[in-house]
Symmetry: C2
Subunit: 366 residues, 2 copies
């Protein structure tokens, strides 16, 4: 059912909620010349979105064929229900990151289930608001669709077309499946990151100073918008609690084992080892780059001086080697002006790249 990109969704489309996601969707639709109306309780956000070329402010009497609700999860259900009443023919979708409660709320408040298809584009940024919108935020992203059981094929087709017009790819799930999935891969990790980072609040600066890349990676998302996340976690509370409950149970078992080890019972080391092995097994289930199977790569490491232009000089040299770079990772060295850059390449290209870099006096190691 997924149509080719370029087959534009039939407009006009009304986007309600011109924040980051709503405005990005509007921009993507405008790129394909779809007519877009914009609406938000905050006139500043609509003004910004309009200024970016995301469409025109909605005014009474206009009749959208498709309504995209892009407001926080707490309000999405009632906004969908109001839209259903305001536009009795229009297809209705939303883009919030929790699905079951939003759809239940919408139907409970009177939304027409035959026109209702939930959605959740798997895209975002660490900043919010219309000003952060990007025309290509949705490009090549997965977009989960959770149609109501009684929705009509005609309306479902309309939302598939919205997804492909925005350059994204649709995947169908039930609302419950979606909510369990995001609780596992997004919501519970967010809370764990925040709780781990929270342990640093009262720690000695000397302790925090020796933190390495592992802690940095694990606490990166602890920077996210706490208001939005409180809303997301609260609306998906049941599923998040189920995942957290399993995490707490595993953590408690490990804690008990560590306390026994500290008290001299070395037999409990096997329990710690099993936990670590289960982690490696779970990690290996995350798809590789681009969702493809993990590909074989070799890492070429370069120790870089932190002076102007060094990173650029490195990549210029890498570019001239004509080797395809699969990935790049920079590990900061604390307290000193330099860094380790790890360039991932196919194994048969590693030697070519290393030689090219050494020739230009880079400090290379494989």
């Amino acid at each position: 059912m997924n149509s080719d990109r370029g087959t534009a969704v039939m407009g006009p489309v009304l986007v309600i909620g011109t924040g980051l996601i709503g405005t990005s969707i509007a921009l993507a639709l405008r790129r394909e010349n779809v007519e877009v109306y914009l609406e938000d309780t905050d006139p500043l956000q609509v003004g910004t979105a309009e200024g970016l070329g995301a469409g025109l402010q909605f005014s009474a009497g206009l009749l959208p064929r498709l309504v995209v609700v892009a407001v926080p999860p707490r309000h999405a259900g009632s906004v969908l229900a109001q839209a259903s009443l305001r536009f009795p023919e229009a297809t209705l979708t939303d883009v919030t990151s929790v699905k079951a409660q939003v759809l239940n709320d919408a139907i409970a408040e009177g939304a027409d289930p035959s026109r209702l298809i939930g959605g959740h584009p798997m895209a975002g940024r660490e900043i919010s608001g219309a000003a952060g919108a990007r025309v290509d935020l949705l490009d090549d992203r997965l977009w989960v669709l959770t149609p109501a059981e009684s929705c009509s094929v005609e309306h479902l087709r309309q939302v598939y077309q919205l997804v492909s017009t925005c350059g994204a790819y649709a995947v169908e799930m039930t609302p419950d499946e979606h909510d369990r999935a995001v609780a596992l891969v997004s919501h519970a990790p967010q809370l764990l990151s925040s709780i781990l980072a929270g342990q640093l609040t009262d720690a000695s600066a000397d302790y925090v100073r020796i933190a390495g890349q592992g802690l940095r990676d694990m606490t990166r998302i602890a920077d996210s918008d706490s208001l939005l996340w409180t809303d997301i976690l609260s609306v998906n509370a049941k599923q998040v609690a189920a995942v957290l409950s399993s995490v707490v149970s595993d953590l408690t078992a490990t804690l008990t084992a560590l306390q026994a080890i500290a008290a001299g019972d070395a037999t409990q080391c096997a329990k710690v080892s099993t936990t670590l092995q289960a982690g490696a097994a779970g990690r290996s289930r995350i798809p590789g780059k681009h969702g493809a199977a993990q590909i074989e790569i070799t890492i070429v490491g370069v120790m870089l001086a932190d002076k102007p232009g060094e990173l650029a000089r490195l990549f210029a040299a890498a570019g001239e080697s004509n080797v395809n770079l699969e990935d790049v990772r920079i590990e900061h060295v604390l307290g000193r002006p330099s860094g380790l850059v790890e360039i991932s390449v196919r194994p048969d290209s590693a030697e070519t790249l290393s030689a090219a870099l050494r020739e230009r006096n880079f400090d290379v190691r494989i």
Copy 2:
């Protein structure tokens, strides 16, 4: 007391345990022409280290002035004690990632505390063994020293010289402080990463497929060597248990709040919000690049096609713009052959870089 690099430590140095860290230290010492002897229970590892130019195999009768013990934490104490007996004049240090128990074990088994200085270089790789060693693994790294209270200044000076000869920077802590610090910033995060990743073991592939960068970052270290980590966590069990206990307590409180919210008690949302805010506050305590204060940066995003040479072409173009790149991050897009590259630059360079990239037809967004 930290001497300038280039003032080589006085050899000969005996490295016991020619794995990743031991061999890297040996290579760094050889770079400064220090005489190095190598010893390991595994003749293959010694052979590999020797082949890399890390020094010569130790033979009876040789008399090191400094012994560096680089064996797993479980054995480090007794190896230090044996070294103390074998070489009654030599300075004794180790490089294991747990300090109090190793030093206690060493002294309990007869090591001379006046010559004993514990150490822990904050460096590592996700691979192990002599073959993974790098001459510059320690360059510009922090290296925590935990001298025994009764150690002599002369022996302490010798270990400071070892650190600077390897290109690293010494920081002193007590063994207990060190162990509390690494439990907080390294050991507990390792377990949390493993336990989070372990939740994926039985999850539907459809669920795992929608995982984003957050989950990837949080589970990266779950790939680490489970044998070595079982050893580290077991030897530092008491301090790790203290951190985990606090994490479990915070998680349990959050879980209880989520369960109340799921049951309809919206007042508990405030608890979730507080947890998220504490996480952001904790995260902000991690020093910025190079341990400096966070600097102001602007991110220039580029959506890249995943065809050979695109990343190289991007950096070649960035190089020609003469802008200093502060950082680079690549976000993989699942299921599709393309990726978002985020280049961090100083705010006043963002326009120059964007213009240079757009000129070469890159899909740029600020």
